[in-house]
Protein backbone atom coordinates (compact mmCIF):
# COMPACT_ATOMS: atom_id res chain seq x y z
CA UNK A 1 0.00 0.00 0.00
CA UNK A 2 2.76 2.38 1.04
CA UNK A 3 4.72 1.55 -2.10
CA UNK A 4 1.73 2.42 -4.28
CA UNK A 5 1.31 5.80 -2.58
CA UNK A 6 4.99 6.58 -3.03
CA UNK A 7 4.77 5.56 -6.67
CA UNK A 8 1.86 7.95 -7.19
CA UNK A 9 3.59 10.81 -5.38
CA UNK A 10 6.79 10.27 -7.37
CA UNK A 11 4.79 10.12 -10.61
CA UNK A 12 3.06 13.43 -9.85
CA UNK A 13 6.35 15.13 -8.97
CA UNK A 14 8.07 13.87 -12.12
CA UNK A 15 5.06 14.97 -14.18
CA UNK A 16 5.20 18.49 -12.76
CA UNK A 17 8.97 18.73 -13.28
CA UNK A 18 8.67 17.33 -16.81
CA UNK A 19 5.90 19.78 -17.71
CA UNK A 20 7.76 22.74 -16.21
CA UNK A 21 10.99 21.87 -18.03
CA UNK A 22 9.15 21.30 -21.32
CA UNK A 23 7.65 24.78 -21.10
CA UNK A 24 10.75 26.65 -19.94
CA UNK A 25 13.65 25.03 -21.77
CA UNK A 26 15.02 27.30 -24.51
CA UNK A 27 16.07 24.29 -26.60
CA UNK A 28 13.04 23.39 -28.72
CA UNK A 29 14.22 19.86 -29.50
CA UNK A 30 14.62 19.21 -25.78
CA UNK A 31 11.15 20.67 -25.21
CA UNK A 32 9.64 18.22 -27.71
CA UNK A 33 11.49 15.30 -26.12
CA UNK A 34 10.25 16.35 -22.68
CA UNK A 35 6.73 16.68 -24.06
CA UNK A 36 6.85 13.11 -25.40
CA UNK A 37 8.14 11.84 -22.05
CA UNK A 38 5.43 13.87 -20.33
CA UNK A 39 2.77 12.23 -22.52
CA UNK A 40 4.00 8.74 -21.68
CA UNK A 41 4.00 9.55 -17.97
CA UNK A 42 0.46 10.97 -18.26
CA UNK A 43 -0.54 7.66 -19.84
CA UNK A 44 0.92 5.94 -16.79
CA UNK A 45 -1.10 8.29 -14.56
CA UNK A 46 -4.27 7.33 -16.48
CA UNK A 47 -3.49 3.66 -15.79
CA UNK A 48 -3.15 4.50 -12.09
CA UNK A 49 -6.53 6.26 -12.28
CA UNK A 50 -7.96 2.98 -13.66
CA UNK A 51 -8.70 4.43 -17.08
CA UNK A 52 -6.75 2.12 -19.43
CA UNK A 53 -8.81 3.26 -22.45
CA UNK A 54 -7.68 6.84 -21.98
CA UNK A 55 -4.13 5.66 -21.26
CA UNK A 56 -3.97 3.84 -24.62
CA UNK A 57 -5.27 6.89 -26.49
CA UNK A 58 -2.91 9.21 -24.62
CA UNK A 59 0.14 7.05 -25.31
CA UNK A 60 -0.69 6.66 -29.01
CA UNK A 61 -2.09 10.09 -29.91
CA UNK A 62 -0.98 12.44 -27.15
CA UNK A 63 2.58 11.22 -27.04
CA UNK A 64 3.34 9.30 -30.24
CA UNK A 65 1.56 11.12 -33.05
CA UNK A 66 1.72 14.59 -31.50
CA UNK A 67 5.42 14.00 -30.88
CA UNK A 68 5.91 13.06 -34.54
CA UNK A 69 3.98 16.17 -35.64
CA UNK A 70 6.04 18.41 -33.36
CA UNK A 71 9.32 16.90 -34.58
CA UNK A 72 8.19 17.45 -38.17
CA UNK A 73 7.31 21.08 -37.41
CA UNK A 74 10.66 21.56 -35.68
CA UNK A 75 12.55 20.34 -38.76
CA UNK A 76 10.54 22.73 -40.93
CA UNK A 77 11.29 25.65 -38.60
CA UNK A 78 14.99 24.82 -38.44
CA UNK A 79 15.12 24.72 -42.21
CA UNK A 80 13.40 28.09 -42.38
CA UNK A 81 15.79 29.65 -39.86
CA UNK A 82 18.79 28.22 -41.74
CA UNK A 83 17.49 29.81 -44.91
CA UNK A 84 17.02 33.10 -43.10
CA UNK A 85 20.54 32.98 -41.69
CA UNK A 86 22.16 32.20 -45.04
CA UNK A 87 20.15 34.99 -46.69
CA UNK A 88 21.30 37.48 -44.05
CA UNK A 89 24.90 36.36 -44.45
CA UNK A 90 24.67 36.80 -48.19
CA UNK A 91 23.23 40.27 -47.67
CA UNK A 92 26.04 41.23 -45.31
CA UNK A 93 28.57 39.86 -47.76
CA UNK A 94 27.17 41.91 -50.62
CA UNK A 95 27.07 45.14 -48.59
CA UNK A 96 30.65 44.52 -47.54
CA UNK A 97 31.71 44.02 -51.13
CA UNK A 98 29.94 47.24 -52.08
CA UNK A 99 31.74 49.02 -49.26
CA UNK A 100 35.07 47.58 -50.35
CA UNK A 101 34.40 48.55 -53.93
CA UNK A 102 33.23 52.07 -53.01
Amino acid sequence: MMVVVWFDVTLVIILLVCGWLALTTPNLLRAVMLFIAFGLLVALAWVRLQAPDVALAEAAVGSGLTGALLLSTLSAMQRASQKRRSRMEAMQQSTKEEYDAG
Binding site: S72, S75, A76, R84
Partner: protein
Protein backbone atom coordinates in the same frame (compact mmCIF):
# COMPACT_ATOMS: atom_id res chain seq x y z
CA UNK B 1 4.36 32.05 -47.49
CA UNK B 2 5.29 29.14 -45.27
CA UNK B 3 8.81 30.45 -44.67
CA UNK B 4 7.43 33.81 -43.58
CA UNK B 5 5.15 32.13 -41.04
CA UNK B 6 8.04 30.08 -39.71
CA UNK B 7 10.20 33.21 -39.48
CA UNK B 8 7.51 34.97 -37.52
CA UNK B 9 7.22 31.99 -35.19
CA UNK B 10 10.99 31.95 -34.69
CA UNK B 11 11.02 35.66 -33.89
CA UNK B 12 8.10 35.25 -31.50
CA UNK B 13 10.07 32.53 -29.77
CA UNK B 14 12.95 34.92 -29.06
CA UNK B 15 10.57 37.54 -27.71
CA UNK B 16 9.84 36.96 -24.02
CA UNK B 17 8.60 40.41 -22.98
CA UNK B 18 5.47 40.60 -20.81
CA UNK B 19 3.28 42.72 -23.04
CA UNK B 20 -0.23 43.83 -22.09
CA UNK B 21 -1.93 41.22 -24.27
CA UNK B 22 0.25 38.48 -22.81
CA UNK B 23 -0.60 39.58 -19.29
CA UNK B 24 -4.28 39.40 -20.25
CA UNK B 25 -3.82 35.83 -21.53
CA UNK B 26 -1.95 34.95 -18.35
CA UNK B 27 -4.76 36.41 -16.21
CA UNK B 28 -7.44 34.54 -18.17
CA UNK B 29 -5.54 31.25 -17.94
CA UNK B 30 -5.02 31.72 -14.20
CA UNK B 31 -8.70 32.53 -13.71
CA UNK B 32 -9.67 29.38 -15.66
CA UNK B 33 -7.39 27.19 -13.55
CA UNK B 34 -8.67 28.80 -10.34
CA UNK B 35 -12.29 28.32 -11.41
CA UNK B 36 -11.72 24.67 -12.35
CA UNK B 37 -9.91 24.01 -9.07
CA UNK B 38 -12.72 25.67 -7.10
CA UNK B 39 -15.33 23.61 -8.98
CA UNK B 40 -13.40 20.39 -8.36
CA UNK B 41 -12.98 21.11 -4.65
CA UNK B 42 -16.59 22.18 -4.03
CA UNK B 43 -18.13 19.38 -6.11
CA UNK B 44 -20.89 17.65 -4.11
CA UNK B 45 -20.30 13.99 -3.27
CA UNK B 46 -23.90 12.88 -3.77
CA UNK B 47 -24.54 14.03 -7.33
CA UNK B 48 -26.72 11.71 -9.39
CA UNK B 49 -24.36 9.03 -10.56
CA UNK B 50 -25.00 7.46 -13.96
CA UNK B 51 -22.50 4.63 -13.53
CA UNK B 52 -24.95 2.10 -12.01
CA UNK B 53 -27.46 2.75 -14.81
CA UNK B 54 -24.75 2.39 -17.45
CA UNK B 55 -23.47 -0.87 -15.93
CA UNK B 56 -27.00 -2.28 -15.54
CA UNK B 57 -27.75 -1.63 -19.21
CA UNK B 58 -24.56 -3.33 -20.45
CA UNK B 59 -26.28 -6.62 -21.44
CA UNK B 60 -28.51 -4.67 -23.84
CA UNK B 61 -25.69 -2.51 -25.26
CA UNK B 62 -24.11 -5.30 -27.33
CA UNK B 63 -20.65 -4.96 -25.74
CA UNK B 64 -19.13 -5.79 -22.36
CA UNK B 65 -16.66 -2.91 -22.06
CA UNK B 66 -18.54 -0.01 -20.42
CA UNK B 67 -16.35 2.58 -22.14
CA UNK B 68 -17.17 1.22 -25.58
CA UNK B 69 -20.84 1.02 -24.58
CA UNK B 70 -20.84 4.71 -23.67
CA UNK B 71 -18.88 5.77 -26.76
CA UNK B 72 -20.69 3.74 -29.38
CA UNK B 73 -24.11 3.10 -27.87
CA UNK B 74 -25.31 5.38 -25.08
CA UNK B 75 -23.57 8.48 -26.40
CA UNK B 76 -23.11 7.47 -30.03
CA UNK B 77 -24.06 10.94 -31.20
CA UNK B 78 -21.00 12.47 -29.49
CA UNK B 79 -18.70 9.95 -31.13
CA UNK B 80 -20.33 10.62 -34.51
CA UNK B 81 -19.47 14.30 -34.12
CA UNK B 82 -15.92 13.43 -33.01
CA UNK B 83 -15.37 11.46 -36.19
CA UNK B 84 -16.72 14.45 -38.14
CA UNK B 85 -14.24 16.73 -36.33
CA UNK B 86 -11.36 14.50 -37.49
CA UNK B 87 -12.62 14.68 -41.07
CA UNK B 88 -12.89 18.47 -40.82
CA UNK B 89 -9.32 18.62 -39.47
CA UNK B 90 -7.88 16.92 -42.53
CA UNK B 91 -10.05 19.03 -44.84
CA UNK B 92 -8.68 22.13 -43.10
CA UNK B 93 -5.08 20.96 -43.47
CA UNK B 94 -5.62 20.19 -47.15
CA UNK B 95 -7.13 23.62 -47.66
CA UNK B 96 -4.21 25.48 -46.04
CA UNK B 97 -1.03 23.43 -46.51
CA UNK B 98 0.42 23.74 -50.00
CA UNK B 99 2.03 20.35 -50.67
CA UNK B 100 2.57 17.14 -48.78
CA UNK B 101 6.09 16.97 -47.47
CA UNK B 102 8.15 14.97 -45.01
CA UNK B 103 10.27 17.59 -43.32
CA UNK B 104 12.98 15.44 -41.82
CA UNK B 105 15.42 13.11 -43.49
CA UNK B 106 15.65 9.60 -42.11
CA UNK B 107 18.92 7.71 -42.48
CA UNK B 108 18.89 5.57 -45.60
CA UNK B 109 19.96 2.27 -44.05
CA UNK B 110 18.77 -1.28 -44.66
CA UNK B 111 18.30 -1.67 -40.90
CA UNK B 112 15.51 0.90 -40.77
CA UNK B 113 13.83 -0.35 -43.95
CA UNK B 114 13.88 -3.98 -42.77
CA UNK B 115 12.72 -3.06 -39.30
CA UNK B 116 9.79 -1.04 -40.66
CA UNK B 117 8.94 -3.83 -43.10
CA UNK B 118 8.79 -6.31 -40.22
CA UNK B 119 7.00 -3.98 -37.84
CA UNK B 120 4.22 -2.63 -40.04
CA UNK B 121 2.29 -5.89 -40.60
CA UNK B 122 2.53 -6.59 -36.88
CA UNK B 123 1.17 -3.14 -36.07
CA UNK B 124 -1.75 -3.66 -38.45
CA UNK B 125 -2.61 -6.92 -36.69
CA UNK B 126 -2.36 -5.12 -33.33
CA UNK B 127 -4.76 -2.43 -34.60
CA UNK B 128 -7.29 -5.03 -35.69
CA UNK B 129 -6.90 -6.89 -32.41
CA UNK B 130 -7.46 -3.68 -30.44
CA UNK B 131 -10.65 -3.03 -32.39
CA UNK B 132 -11.94 -6.51 -31.69
CA UNK B 133 -10.82 -6.37 -28.07
CA UNK B 134 -12.70 -3.09 -27.57
CA UNK B 135 -15.96 -4.98 -27.15
CA UNK B 136 -14.88 -6.60 -23.89
CA UNK B 137 -11.67 -4.90 -22.73
CA UNK B 138 -10.03 -1.48 -23.02
CA UNK B 139 -9.48 -0.77 -26.69
CA UNK B 140 -11.64 0.12 -29.64
CA UNK B 141 -11.75 2.19 -32.79
CA UNK B 142 -9.79 5.19 -31.51
CA UNK B 143 -6.93 3.15 -30.09
CA UNK B 144 -6.80 0.87 -33.12
CA UNK B 145 -7.00 3.90 -35.40
CA UNK B 146 -4.13 5.55 -33.55
CA UNK B 147 -1.99 2.45 -34.11
CA UNK B 148 -2.94 2.51 -37.81
CA UNK B 149 -1.99 6.19 -37.86
CA UNK B 150 1.38 5.18 -36.43
CA UNK B 151 1.71 2.69 -39.30
CA UNK B 152 1.15 5.52 -41.77
CA UNK B 153 3.60 7.85 -40.03
CA UNK B 154 6.34 5.20 -39.87
CA UNK B 155 5.76 4.24 -43.46
CA UNK B 156 5.85 7.82 -44.66
CA UNK B 157 8.88 8.78 -42.55
CA UNK B 158 11.00 5.70 -43.15
CA UNK B 159 10.21 4.91 -46.76
CA UNK B 160 9.57 8.58 -47.60
CA UNK B 161 6.39 7.59 -49.25
CA UNK B 162 3.98 10.30 -50.31
CA UNK B 163 0.65 9.70 -51.97
CA UNK B 164 0.92 11.32 -55.37
CA UNK B 165 -2.15 10.03 -57.13
CA UNK B 166 -3.78 12.67 -59.25
CA UNK B 167 -7.25 11.97 -57.89
CA UNK B 168 -6.82 10.11 -54.61
CA UNK B 169 -10.28 8.57 -54.72
CA UNK B 170 -9.46 5.64 -52.47
CA UNK B 171 -7.73 7.86 -49.98
CA UNK B 172 -10.75 10.15 -49.79
CA UNK B 173 -13.02 7.15 -49.47
CA UNK B 174 -10.88 5.88 -46.59
CA UNK B 175 -10.96 9.26 -44.86
CA UNK B 176 -14.74 9.54 -45.18
CA UNK B 177 -15.63 5.91 -44.44
CA UNK B 178 -16.05 6.43 -40.70
CA UNK B 179 -18.43 9.36 -41.05
CA UNK B 180 -20.26 7.61 -43.88
CA UNK B 181 -20.82 4.38 -41.93
CA UNK B 182 -21.87 6.32 -38.85
CA UNK B 183 -24.33 8.54 -40.74
CA UNK B 184 -25.78 5.61 -42.70
CA UNK B 185 -26.30 3.69 -39.44
CA UNK B 186 -27.79 6.75 -37.74
CA UNK B 187 -30.21 7.61 -40.53
CA UNK B 188 -31.09 3.97 -41.20
CA UNK B 189 -31.93 3.40 -37.55
CA UNK B 190 -33.85 6.66 -37.49
CA UNK B 191 -36.22 5.21 -40.09
CA UNK B 192 -36.27 1.67 -38.70
CA UNK B 193 -36.48 2.38 -35.01
CA UNK B 194 -37.66 5.97 -34.84
CA UNK B 195 -34.61 7.33 -33.03
CA UNK B 196 -31.15 8.40 -34.14
CA UNK B 197 -28.59 5.67 -33.37
CA UNK B 198 -31.04 3.54 -31.37
CA UNK B 199 -29.70 0.04 -31.92
CA UNK B 200 -31.90 -3.02 -31.60
CA UNK B 201 -30.28 -4.95 -28.69
CA UNK B 202 -29.94 -8.17 -30.71
CA UNK B 203 -28.03 -6.52 -33.58
CA UNK B 204 -26.23 -3.91 -31.45
CA UNK B 205 -22.92 -5.81 -31.54
CA UNK B 206 -22.95 -6.06 -35.35
CA UNK B 207 -23.83 -2.40 -35.84
CA UNK B 208 -21.15 -1.28 -33.37
CA UNK B 209 -18.53 -3.50 -35.01
CA UNK B 210 -19.32 -2.19 -38.50
CA UNK B 211 -19.22 1.45 -37.38
CA UNK B 212 -16.03 0.92 -35.37
CA UNK B 213 -14.24 -0.85 -38.24
CA UNK B 214 -15.00 1.98 -40.66
CA UNK B 215 -14.13 4.58 -38.03
CA UNK B 216 -10.81 2.87 -37.25
CA UNK B 217 -9.65 3.00 -40.88
CA UNK B 218 -10.76 6.62 -41.18
CA UNK B 219 -9.03 7.63 -37.93
CA UNK B 220 -5.82 5.88 -38.96
CA UNK B 221 -5.84 7.44 -42.43
CA UNK B 222 -6.67 10.88 -40.99
CA UNK B 223 -3.86 10.82 -38.43
CA UNK B 224 -1.34 9.65 -41.02
CA UNK B 225 -2.46 12.30 -43.53
CA UNK B 226 -2.28 14.98 -40.82
CA UNK B 227 1.36 14.03 -40.37
CA UNK B 228 2.09 14.11 -44.10
CA UNK B 229 0.11 17.33 -44.46
CA UNK B 230 -1.07 18.95 -47.65
CA UNK B 231 -3.33 17.76 -50.41
CA UNK B 232 -1.74 14.91 -52.34
CA UNK B 233 -1.35 15.85 -55.97
CA UNK B 234 0.41 14.58 -59.02
CA UNK B 235 4.04 15.59 -59.18
CA UNK B 236 4.44 18.39 -61.67
CA UNK B 237 6.60 17.69 -64.67
CA UNK B 238 9.84 19.60 -64.50
Amino acid sequence: MQDRDFNRALQADDDTRLTQSRLLVLALATALVAGLAAAAITFPDDFGRLAPLALDSLPRSGVLNPVTAVLLNYRGYDTLLEVVVLLLAIVGVWAIAPTPRIWFKTPDTPVLATFVRLLLPLMMVVAGYMLWLGADEPGGAFQGGAVLGGVGVLWAAAVVWLPRAGRPFWLRLLLGAGVAAFVIAAVGLLFLRGNLLQYPPEQAKTVILVIESAAMFSIGATLAMLFIGGYPRREEAK
